[in-house]
């Protein structure tokens, strides 16, 4: 109620999850997706399977030869190409869980997979993981043009993390 009142006073319209869109501010539709750096391996595998051809990848998903749920790229394709928002924000999160106890790890999403991933790609050097995600965004840019800006936000509440907000703004709808 309070939020609605503030927005009404200022003449802005904000709606979360309106008509299957994550966020609508005035007339602008914004979609968010979230991935961990440890999703890199899955993403690389998906892109290699069809030599980076996204149309073929999506055909495999339609034919149920490939999961649309336990994968990375089909959901991103769906948001960018099918839903066609004005702005797409891909949040990429990297975490250092090395100092956590087993009890603390039990409360962290896919902690075991994260630790396994960091054994070969340590947290300190893991900006390299962005290459795979930027690779997918480049492929999508060929299908729908957009400008891309990366905004890193570091946190350290329990364990160090960096959130990279990959902001895609479409030049045409």
């Amino acid at each position: 109620m309070l939020i609605a009142k503030h927005f009404w006073r200022r003449g802005h319209k904000v709606a979360l999850e309106k008509k299957k869109c994550d966020l609508v501010v005035d007339e602008t539709r914004v979609e968010f997706k979230f991935s961990f750096d440890s999703d890199t391996l899955s993403l690389e595998k998906e892109l290699n399977r069809f030599d980076g051809n996204l149309e073929m990848l999506m055909k495999a998903v339609s034919a149920k030869e490939m999961s649309g749920t336990w994968t990375v790229s089909p959901a991103i394709y769906n948001d960018v190409i099918v839903k066609r928002p004005e702005i797409f924000v891909w949040i990429l999160c990297t975490r250092d869980l090395s100092k956590l106890t087993n009890d603390e790890l039990s409360r962290v999403c896919i902690a075991t997979h994260q630790q396994w991933f960091n054994r070969s790609r340590p947290y300190e050097s893991n900006q390299k993981f962005l290459e795979a995600f930027e690779g997918l965004l480049s492929k999508l840019q060929e299908l729908r043009n957009f400008s891309l800006e990366k905004i890193p936000c570091a946190t350290n509440n329990g364990f160090p993390s960096v959130y990279y907000f990959m902001m895609c703004e479409f030049t045409e709808i």
Partner: protein
Amino acid sequence: MVKSQNVLLKEMITAQDIKVILESDEFGRELEELSSYAANIRQERPIGYAYCQALLAAWS
């Protein structure tokens, strides 16, 4: 036609508007907190809410 285009432009926000929010102290505080209390989930939804909260703070 020109009028409707102007109305459309006026009612759109841009990536720059979102960037201002993402770089605000309000959003930074929310992100710091949710990185811990929401560590057990993929966080696109709480981040969406945090974004809205920061947007509200920026507009008020």
